[in-house]
Structures are given as C-alpha cells and as structure tokens.
C-alpha cells in the first residue's frame, strides 16, 4: 500500500461543470486537477500518481472512451469514472466493459460521485499495491542466473531434484546447489514458499 496523496483528475469541456465538480471534491477533502480538454489531460499524464479520473463521455475531439484507450496505451492505469449529460445506454455499456468504475448521469448526487470515487481510489490502491509487489518479485527474480531460473521453474512445478537433473542433463548434486542458491536469492524459506513466489510472479 502506498500512502502518497490521491489526486482526482477531472476532464470536462464544460467549464461550469468542471468548476462545480472541483469545488465539491475539494470540499469533500480530495485533491483535484481539472482539465478542460482530453488533450491537455493526456499531455500532463504521469502514470505513477495515485488517484482516479472523472471523464466526460462526450467531448469534442476525443470522446471519453477514446480517451480511456489513450490512457491505457500511455500505460496509465488510473480507474475511470464516466460522467455524461446523455442517457446513452450503448456508450455506458461500452464504458463499463472497458473497465470503468462507474457511469454517472448528469446531474448526479454527491453521494453517487463520492461513492464512485472512493471505490475507484480503493481499486487504484489495490492495483497499485499489486503492481508494487509484482515489481519487487520481478526484481528479486531478475537476480537469478538463466540456469537458476530454469531450476526454479522446474522445482516450482513439483519435480524432484533427480527429475530436474534428468531434464536439464546434469547431476542431482549440481541441481541441489542451484536450488539452494535460488532459495537464498529469492529469500524464501522452503520449497512450498518458492512455489507460491513463482505463482505470484506468474500473476504479476
């Protein structure tokens, strides 16, 4: 879990809405960054800021869904809440399928918005923590030699030293040495832990 302050990115081409939302969220104790156009937002995007994005669905130039894709392609994984002045069902379905946290119809109540935002921030925090853990695992895994990685993968599959040695065409004794190194480098206590590590690495 990271404890850097979360920022709500607001993108809406309507200045009044942008001001109103900003004011409401600040009054509710959030830090906000308003943008009047998708391009401004994309230009300032940095992937590692915790928070979420509140995007207007219909904007000239890039619409909200296109913007969401542009964010993904820029490796920005901020959870997205869409807001819209239209009761446009197909658009809302596409938005939810694309992983939006919520889809709010204007005018919406603060409870709806704040609920969606806390949900988005929670998701962001979880995803961020997951990503951080994965990064640690990868870093640890990265120090293994190519031969040690092979041994690690096969041990994690549940093969005995003998079987591993046979697969890799070497002696059981050599494999034992590799296995001890792997356990030491990855900082695990047992083969069981090693199996879990490889599992998480695979997910991350």
């Amino acid at each position: 879990m990271t404890h850097a302050p979360a920022t709500i990115f607001l993108v809406d081409d309507d200045e009044s809405v942008l001001r109103g939302l900003g004011r409401l969220l600040r009054a509710a104790g959030h830090a906000t960054k308003p943008f009047a156009s998708p391009s401004e937002f994309l230009a300032q995007l940095s992937g590692d800021t915790p928070g979420c994005a509140v995007l207007d669905l219909r904007m000239p130039g890039l619409n909200g869904l296109e913007l969401q894709q542009a964010m993904e392609s820029k490796d920005c994984h901020l959870p997205v809440i869409f807001i819209s002045g239209h009761g446009d069902v197909p658009a809302s379905v596409r938005a939810m399928k694309a992983g939006a946290v919520d889809f709010l119809l204007k005018p919406f109540d603060e409870q709806q918005l704040l609920g969606a935002i806390s949900e988005a921030l929670r998701k962001d925090a979880v995803a961020r923590a997951g990503r951080a853990e994965a990064a640690t695992l990868h870093a640890r895994h990265a120090v293994l030699t190519p031969r040690e990685r092979e041994v690690c993968a096969l041990v994690a599959q549940g093969l005995t030293n003998k079987e591993v040695a046979q697969r890799l065409g070497t002696t059981e004794k050599t494999i034992k040495v590799h296995r001890a190194r792997v356990i030491q480098k990855l900082d695990v206590d047992s083969v069981a832990e090693l199996v879990r590590f490889v599992d998480r690495l695979g997910q991350g």
Binding site: D13, D14, S16, V17, R19, G20, L21, R23, L24, R26, A27, A28, R58, P60, G61, I83, G85, H86, G87, L105, K106, P107, F108, D109, E110
Partner: protein, 643 residues
C-alpha cells in the same frame, strides 16, 4: 369655455384701445339704423337647449308680431361662471363699442340674475330705452327704487306643484331629494325651493335630502345609493362647486342612469330622457310670451310699466307615459288635467289604413312576383353556385394558410426533436454544475471555519448556471410556441444569432465550426419571427446533417447575410458536405423528400413555403467541389434599417 374667455378678453382689449383713440364726441354720435333692433341678454350659453329654444321662439314671435324688419341681438352673460364688478364694467365697455352703430330700441332680459346686470347696463348705456324682463323672482318688482320703463312677466318654476304631482304618482314616498347645481343663482334657487317645499314636507311628514351644490361624482354616487322610499326632484346643474360649467341635459342623462329612484324635472327640454314628469316650463312658450310683450312695448301699447309682474302660463304639469311604465306607476294615479306625453297609440291604431292598403297592394304584387319567381330561381341557382365556388376558394386559401401554420409547427417540433439529445445535454450541464456547487457550498458551510469566500463563489456560479439553463429553455420554448403568425419587423441578423446560439452545443458536439458573416447594416424584414427563425434553423440543421460523412476537422458551416439589391435581404448557408447532385436540386424542396434516416423530409419544403409566404424565395445551389449552398432572399421592409 376657456378658449371663449380668451377670445373675449382679446376682443375687449382691442376695443378698449380703439376707444381710447376716439375723441369723446365720436362715441356720443349715434346713427339710428332703419328698422327696430332688440337686444336680448340671457344668463347662460346660447347653445344650452333651453336658451336655444327660447331665442328661436322669441325671434319668430317678434317677426310675426312686428311689421317691418326687426333685429334680435343675443348676448350671453355666462353668469354661471363669470361675474363681478370688473366683469360688468368690461361688458359695459364692450357693449358700448359693439352697439354704438346699432343702439337697441329695447332690452330684454331673462332670469333675475341677468335682469340685475341688464338694469345696470341700461343705466349706463341706454337709460331711456324700455326693458322687458322675464324673471323667476316675483319680488323683483318690490325692488327700490323701482326701475322705470320696465315691463315684465313672472316665470314660476313650480317645485311645489312638481312635488305634489310626484306624491300623487308615488304615494309611498317618504323622502324628497332635491338636486341643484352650484352657481350662485342655482344656490339661491335651491334655498327658495326648499322654503317653498317646507309646508308640504311638514304636512306629509317627509324628509328632505338636499342634493344641491355637490360635485358631479358625489351627486351621482348619492343618486346611486338613495333609500327606497325616495323621489328625486331636479332643477338644474349648470356648474359644480369648482365653477366648471356643464350642459344640464347631459347631466340629466347621467343622473337618470345613476339614480335608482324616479326623477322629476322642471324643464320641458329634458322631457323624454326618462324623467317621470313635473311642472315643465316650455321655453318655446317663454320665448313667445316675451316676443308678444316686447312687440307690445315696441308698438307703444304697453303703457302700464308700473304694473306688477304677471305670471305666465308657460308651465304645464306633464307626465311621461313611458316613465310611468318604467316605474310601474298605474295610469289611474295620474291626476286629471295632467298632460300625458309619449302616450303613443299602437302601430296598428296609427297606421291601420296604411297597413290595409299595403296588404292589398302587396297581394297584387305577389301575383306579379309569382310569374317572376321561376326565372329568378334559375338565376339565383347560378349565383349560388358562383358564391359557393368563391367561398370554397376562400376556404381553401384559409385552409392552406392554416395548414402551413400547422405544418410549420409540426416541423419546428420535429426539428427540435432532432435537437432533443443536444438540448438535454445542454440543460443537464448547468444542472449538474448547480447541484455540485450547491452540495459543495453545504459542505463548505459545515467546515470549521466555514469557507465563506468559496461559498460565495459557488453561489455566483449557481446563479449564472441557472440563468444559462433558463436561456436554453427560453429559446426552445420560443420555437415550440404555436400561434397566429404575426407581422412584425425583424432583424435577420438577430434571428440568425438566436438560432446559432440554440444550435451552438449541437455544433460543438458534432465537431462543426460556424462562421457568421453578418452584414453590418441590413434592412429589416417583415413577418413572423418564429417562422423566419424556423427557416434559419432548418437550413442550419440541414447543413449540419449534410456534413455527417465529412471528417471532424473539416465540418465547416458558413452563414452570411447581405443585401444583394435594393429592397432585398439575403441569407445564405453554405456547408462543406458532399453537395447535391444537379438532378436532385429540384427535389430537395419536395415534401417528404429526405436523405436522412430520421428526417421527416418536411424541413426544406416548409421553409420554402414560409419564405414564399413572406414574399421571398428559397433556392439551392451546389457549386462543384463545394458543399451545398442555400440562398433565401426576402423583401426588405420599407421602413427602418436594422443594425
């Protein structure tokens, strides 16, 4: 009246100047004209019905009785509103100048107040001519010193006899209301009449309601609220307390329509207006009596100048038969000897022989007419067919106009329907902003310390967003309105701007840009603003639709206004779409022709009808390589130019 005063005073000033230039002998020299000359002094405007009747009757009576020509000059003293020593002195000077060449042979004066002025004038101007008076004040003769060479008659305004008549006709009367005006003479009359009625009041135990000397409005109000057992006796209403003069006959009408109770009068000039009756003085008889007496005086037959005033038989007890019916008074109550006016025989009684004759003749005519009927009927049928055709044509025209109105309305609603999503968006935006700001403000107020500056800003935003939403609705409602087309002057530029505002959001969302090139001084156009806006709206929506297939950056809409020739105003709308095929240029104005999936196909058709109904034309062009260009030319209104 005021005009009259000023002319009078100008004349007087002029005469005074002339007089001051003349040597005294010249004034004294007097030429005697051939024939007799008589000067009549009356107290009121000669145009008043009583005065006019009196003068006319006196004149004809003098002509009848006198051999040879006789001149009657009439001077109105306007005593209702003008009096005082300065006034009398001015009159004196004025009459001296006016009658220098035309010295009257006799002076006639009517009514006691005029008599007093006349006596003074005679003393100063023509001390030796005889004077004939008709006075309602019998005590005139008791005046000391007694005026010389004066013959006279007593005109008795018999309020008591009138009251007695009223009591006989309306025996349930418990109150007598006495109406009178406010001139000094009228106030004196009122006092005298109250005195004259006193014995009767005491004898019958009646109450007197004094309605003298009241402003007109108050008099009418009192008349409206009189107790049920009241009978109204009226005399005159020549001036109100402020001295404003009135025509008695008109006041009588007002009083009669205001009064809830029967009214009686003393002048025959108002008989027939609705008064029940009274001892009515006939001014015709007054004129006649005066004429006869004057003739006798002029012929030297009247020697007894010292005899007291003789009463004149000029008043008659009269009852209006129609008023009797109006108040439900049985005819049996009318005392014998009382004249019954307007007691008309029925039409049959009066015209019996005429009617019988007419029936006979029309019977004969019917026979002749019978022969003509067949011929006539044939002609009538032809005529009826013609009329029917004309009527149908007219109906068709009205129907066509109404149909255009209805279609125009339907098309407006449809056009706005196409815009509905955009309009909803345009409304939801400010609503969302308002809600956010309001909820933010609530949180900010609950914070410690409350962030009042921020709350103030939120409220400011709420207000402007609310106005923005209001404007959207206003513009939409203006176009949804349905009603009779109106003929008003409009600035085409304003109409275009209004529609452009309405479409702004839609254009924004469609990624289209609008270029407005509006001519700075354009003549106004005349017509129905809503329908003209509808034309602009249709043209713009059409142009936007035409650009649906064009990439977002290239959707350009150019709207221009111009004055292509004298008396003409042009609106052109050019899009950057694919244009219209030449073979389809004529089709696009056909009803139900549409290239759109959702379109009614009525927009351009109705727009053309509207433009043509405004005396203009609407045409489409498609210049190669450009989009479609729609031109709407309207005649300029003839008056002012719009900015």
């Amino acid at each position: 009246m005021r005009f009259k005063v000023s002319t009078l005073s100008w004349r007087m000033v002029f005469v005074l100047c002339i007089l001051s230039l003349l040597p005294p002998q010249a004034v004294a020299q007097e030429a005697r004209p051939a024939g007799k000359s008589v000067l009549l002094l009356i107290p009121e405007d000669t145009a008043l019905p009583a005065m006019a009747t009196l003068v006319a009757s006196l004149r004809s009576s003098l002509w009848e009785a006198q051999e040879g020509p006789i001149t009657l000059d009439v001077e109105s003293l306007d005593l209702g509103w003008a009096r005082g020593p300065a006034y009398t002195h001015a009159l004196h000077t004025w009459y001296l100048a006016k009658y220098r060449e035309r010295r009257p042979d006799a002076l006639i004066a009517f009514r006691s107040d005029a008599v007093q002025v006349a006596l003074q004038l005679r003393r100063e101007l023509w001390p030796d001519i005889p004077m004939i008076v008709l006075s309602e004040d019998e005590r005139l003769w008791e005046q000391q010193p007694r005026p010389e060479r004066m013959a006279g008659l007593w005109l008795h305004y018999d309020m008591r006899a009138t009251a007695e008549l009223a009591l006989q006709l309306l025996p349930s009367t418990r109150r007598l209301a006495l109406v009178n005006g406010s001139s000094p003479w009228e106030r004196a009359q009122q006092a005298q009449m109250v005195r004259a009625l006193q014995p009767l009041l005491g004898q019958r135990g009646l109450e007197l309601i004094d309605l003298g000397n009241l402003p007109l409005a108050e008099l009418l109000e009192r008349a409206r609220t009189l107790p049920d057992d009241t009978t109204v006796l009226t005399f005159t209403f020549m001036t109100d307390p402020s001295g404003r003069p009135f025509v008695g006959r008109e006041i009588a009408r007002l009083l009669l329509s205001a009064s809830t109770r029967p009214c009686f009068a003393l002048h025959d000039t108002v008989l027939g207006l609705g008064f029940v009756g009274g001892a009515l003085v006939s001014y015709e008889a007054v004129g006649q009596q005066l004429g006869m007496l004057t003739s006798r005086v002029l012929r030297g037959e009247q020697e007894e100048f010292l005899a007291p005033l003789k009463p004149t038989p000029v008043a008659t007890l009269t009852v209006d038969a129609r008023a009797l019916r109006r108040w439900g008074i049985p005819r049996a109550r009318v005392p014998p000897g009382v004249r019954l006016a307007f007691d008309e025989p029925t039409l049959w009684e009066r015209y019996r022989w005429w009617v019988l004759g007419a029936l006979t003749i029309s019977g004969l005519q019917a026979l002749v007419a019978g022969g003509l009927v067949v011929e006539r009927r044939r002609r009538m049928r032809a005529q009826a067919e013609l009329l029917e055709r004309q009527r149908l044509e007219k109906l068709a025209e009205i129907e066509a106009r109404r149909t255009l109105e209805q279609l125009a309305h339907v098309s407006r609603v449809a056009a706005l329907g196409e815009l509905a999503a955009s309009l909803a968006h345009e409304l939801n935006q400010p609503l969302a902003a308002i809600l956010s700001n309001a909820q933010a403000a609530r949180r900010l107020l609950n914070a410690t310390p409350a962030e009042l500056d921020e709350v103030r800003e939120a409220l400011g935003d709420i207000i402007s967003d609310d106005k923005r939403a209001g404007e959207v609705i206003h513009r939409m409602r203006a176009l949804l309105k349905r009603g009779e087309p109106r003929q008003e002057l409009h600035s085409l530029n304003d109409l275009v701007r209004e529609v452009a505002r309405l479409l702004a959001n839609d254009m924004h969302l469609r990624g289209a840009t609008l270029q407005l090139a509006l001519a700075p001084s354009l003549p106004a156009v005349q017509g129905d603003g809503i329908q003209l806006q509808q034309v602009v709206l249709n043209l713009l929506i059409n142009a936007l639709d035409a650009m649906a297939d064009v990439p977002v950056g290239q959707r350009q809409l150019q709207v221009r206004t111009a004055s292509p020739g004298p008396g003409q105003v042009e609106l052109s709308v050019q899009d950057s779409g694919g244009g219209i095929e030449p073979s389809r240029l004529a089709l696009i104005f056909e009803p139900f022709y549409s290239t759109k999936e959702h379109g009614l196909g009525m927009g351009l058709s109705i727009s053309r009808s509207i433009v043509e109904a405004h005396g203009g034309r609407l045409q489409a062009e498609s210049p190669p390589g450009q989009g479609a260009l729609l031109r709407c030319v309207l005649p300029a209104a003839h008056t002012e130019s719009s900015p």
